[in-house]
């Protein structure tokens, strides 16, 4: 019988993939990269959210260490994860959000950090130790953070309002602003707010608690002008709403766009709210892990951390950088009225696995 060329190629491919699979298995189980502080091992490729780092800051790092630095962008954690997980992405540094760090650790998609190569880790505020998704900080370093809370137009609402989720969920107060309230169009955030008001964890996996939260949102629905995420800040400053559920960074930058920023006030209710943290991490097969370690350490320097925040206007987890922040940003970060319940009242949204669908279903029902 004549050898069929296609069969030969197929057989070769099967053999190849077996070899490849065998080799891949040997690779896993390696410890942290063997790097020293300040060491670089090649050009750095960063995979980050868009508009999250000043290009000039990147250039400054490149010039100081004599490297080429490339920044590419993604628009969601979910798009980034499979690209890193598949391997050979070519990236040395990624910036996943809190819950995604947990998923990446579980999938062995990011490598253990060599903390000796990042001496500036000591600049991180103690508020960011013992994080649920990476308790010992072995895999990730906080990059920027923010909260979800409520923004109020004090010109209409006044200053005498409850610093509580009751401002939205208690009809006794909220009914006077019926039709001028917006909630986020996000199952975890909005049901999370209701859960917090009820005194539960926003990561609950208890169906009864979720049911209560759902009913609370249904009850509030009559007062709500919009369930909107992308424009909640704009709706507030254009006067469509006077009480808006939203993200700290978005609200704060939006206030500064108006003629009278002092007219608006953002706070996290005393029952607590969501805290999100984006983190720096190194993919398992990063071509130049030492350059990545050096970059992480460099961003954690006081001046660079301040420059990072002054450009993207999110809060910094870097304690040493606070002194270098712009005046209005520092005032916002330091204002104790913003988080009256203290950092301890904040919770990160965690991946609840199979229970996630319950949140989605409950939210769809609640929004109606």
């Amino acid at each position: 019988m004549r050898a069929n060329p296609i069969r030969l190629i197929l057989a070769a491919l099967v053999a190849l993939s077996l070899v490849a699979a065998a080799c891949a298995e040997e690779e896993s189980g390696a410890g942290p990269a063997d790097c020293e502080a300040g060491q670089t091992d090649g050009d750095l490729n960063i995979y980050n959210w868009a508009e999250y780092i000043d290009p000039e800051l990147v250039d400054a790092f490149a010039a100081q260490f004599g490297l080429e630095v490339t920044v590419d962008v993604y628009d969601s954690n979910e798009a980034m994860q499979p690209i890193i997980s598949a391997g050979n992405s070519g990236y040395d540094l990624i910036v996943p959000s809190d819950y995604m760090v947990g998923i990446l650790i579980e999938g062995e998609d990011i490598q253990e950090l060599n903390k000796d190569a990042i001496p500036n880790l000591s600049n991180i505020s103690p508020d960011f130790s013992d994080l649920v998704y990476d308790p010992a900080g072995d895999y990730s370093v906080p990059y920027q953070w923010g909260t979800t809370g409520i923004a109020v137009d004090t010109a209409v609402v006044g200053t005498d309002f409850p610093r509580s989720w009751s401002i939205i969920f208690d009809g006794a107060f909220a009914d006077q602003f019926s039709g001028q309230i917006s909630l986020l169009n996000d199952p975890r955030e909005t049901l999370g707010a209701a859960l917090k008001y009820l005194g539960y964890s926003l990561n609950t996996t208890d169906e009864g608690e979720l049911e209560e939260a759902k009913n609370l949102v249904i009850e509030a629905r009559g007062r709500v002008a919009a369930f909107d995420t992308d424009q909640s800040d704009e709706l507030l400053t254009t006067g469509e709403t006077v009480i808006a559920h939203g993200y700290s960074g978005d609200m704060f930058t939006q206030f500064l766009e108006t003629e009278d920023p002092g007219r608006y006030f953002y706070f996290v209710p005393e029952e607590g709210g969501t805290r999100w943290i984006d983190n720096m991490a190194i993919p398992f097969d990063a071509p130049n892990p030492c350059s990545a370690h050096t970059f992480i350490n460099w961003i954690l320097e006081a001046d660079n951390g301040a420059a990072l925040s002054n450009w993207n206007y999110y809060s910094t987890p870097n304690q040493a950088a606070l002194d270098g922040l712009d005046e209005d940003l520092l005032a916002f970060v330091n204002d104790p009225a913003v988080i009256p319940g203290g950092v301890g009242s904040l919770e990160s949204i965690q991946d609840t696995g199979d229970f996630e669908i319950n949140f989605t279903d409950a939210f769809i029902e609640a929004v109606g």
Partner: protein, 293 residues
């Protein structure tokens, strides 16, 4: 059928032109708004804040945005040229020849059109990351994802679109013309070059424009096939939306819109110039010379 269509009656004429206007308004009103608001002096897209060129200035100063636009244009041009050649060849093969596996090949060609973007994207992701690993293991090659892999993935889906458009044109073409040219001693190449090609040229041009547009538009497949330093414009713009939509995105869109309109006008002008001179004359002359040889 003797020439011309029946003229519509007065009422149906009104109704028809009315519908046409509504359809045009539906198509172009959003574009008009997009253009207008690219000059708006307000961060919030959709709120007029007076005339400004600030967003265009912002674009000029935004190197990342410009780099990604440049990557997009290069990928689009290269993938269009290659997929037009391959797609046309595939169309010719399927339309003009009978061979074993033709029907299978025919069906397979439609696959990239039918399967969802995400599926195609994941396929490309696995193909490239595994391919790079195997190439590294066996051949010692140090490959990386980036410009080349994006271009390859765009070629992969564009071939199908090009070949479908070209085939539609080919099947409407009179095959006897080719036979006649062969009878007149033109070889296969010459009869393709001087008889077939001029006739399917509009199909090829249509396929090329389609490929160019699809390549410039694509986000999902591109994102999964890209590597360091190869963010395309749509991927970058999608990323920017997370920080809120500003008129900067309008300004970028207007620039791209102007570029594509310029492209279309250019191709129309070229077509005008072509039809101005008779195309049949030089063709006939070449044939004569080939016969003399």
């Amino acid at each position: 059928m003797m020439g011309g269509f029946a003229r519509p009656g007065r009422i149906s004429k009104w109704a028809l032109s009315g519908t046409a206007w509504v359809v045009y308004a539906f198509f172009y009103a959003p574009i008009l708004l997009l253009v207008i608001f690219s000059f708006s002096d307000d961060r919030n897209v959709g709120r007029w804040g007076g005339f400004t060129l600030f967003w265009y200035d912002e674009f000029i100063g935004h190197t990342q945005l410009q780099n990604s636009l440049w990557v997009s244009i290069r990928v689009a041009l290269l993938s269009t040229v290659i997929s037009v050649v391959l797609g046309t060849l595939a169309a010719l093969a399927l339309e003009r020849f009978r061979f074993r596996g033709r029907r299978v090949f025919d069906a397979l060609l439609y696959l990239p059109i039918i399967i969802p973007d995400v599926t195609m994207a994941v396929m490309m992701l696995l193909f490239f990351s595994e391919g790079i690993r195997i190439a590294g293991l066996l051949l010692g090659l140090d490959l990386a994802k980036g410009f080349t892999t994006i271009t390859i993935s765009h070629i992969a889906f564009n071939i199908s679109f090009v070949s479908i458009v070209v085939r539609a044109r080919l099947s409407g073409m009179n095959e006897q013309l080719e036979e006649a040219s062969l009878d007149l001693y033109a070889d296969r190449w010459r009869s393709f070059r001087y008889v077939t090609l001029p006739q399917i040229a509009p199909g090829i041009a249509g396929g090329a424009l389609l490929a160019l547009t699809l390549s410039l538009d694509d986000v999902v497949v591109t994102q999964f096939a890209s590597g360091p330093g190869s963010t395309t414009l749509p991927v970058f713009v999608f990323g920017m939306i997370r920080r809120g939509v500003t008129p900067l995105i309008n300004a970028v869109s207007v620039i791209m819109l102007s570029a594509s309109i310029a492209l279309v006008i250019m191709s129309l002008v070229v077509q005008r110039l072509r039809t101005g001179e008779s195309t049949s004359r030089p063709t006939r002359r070449r044939f004569r010379s080939s016969v003399q040889v």
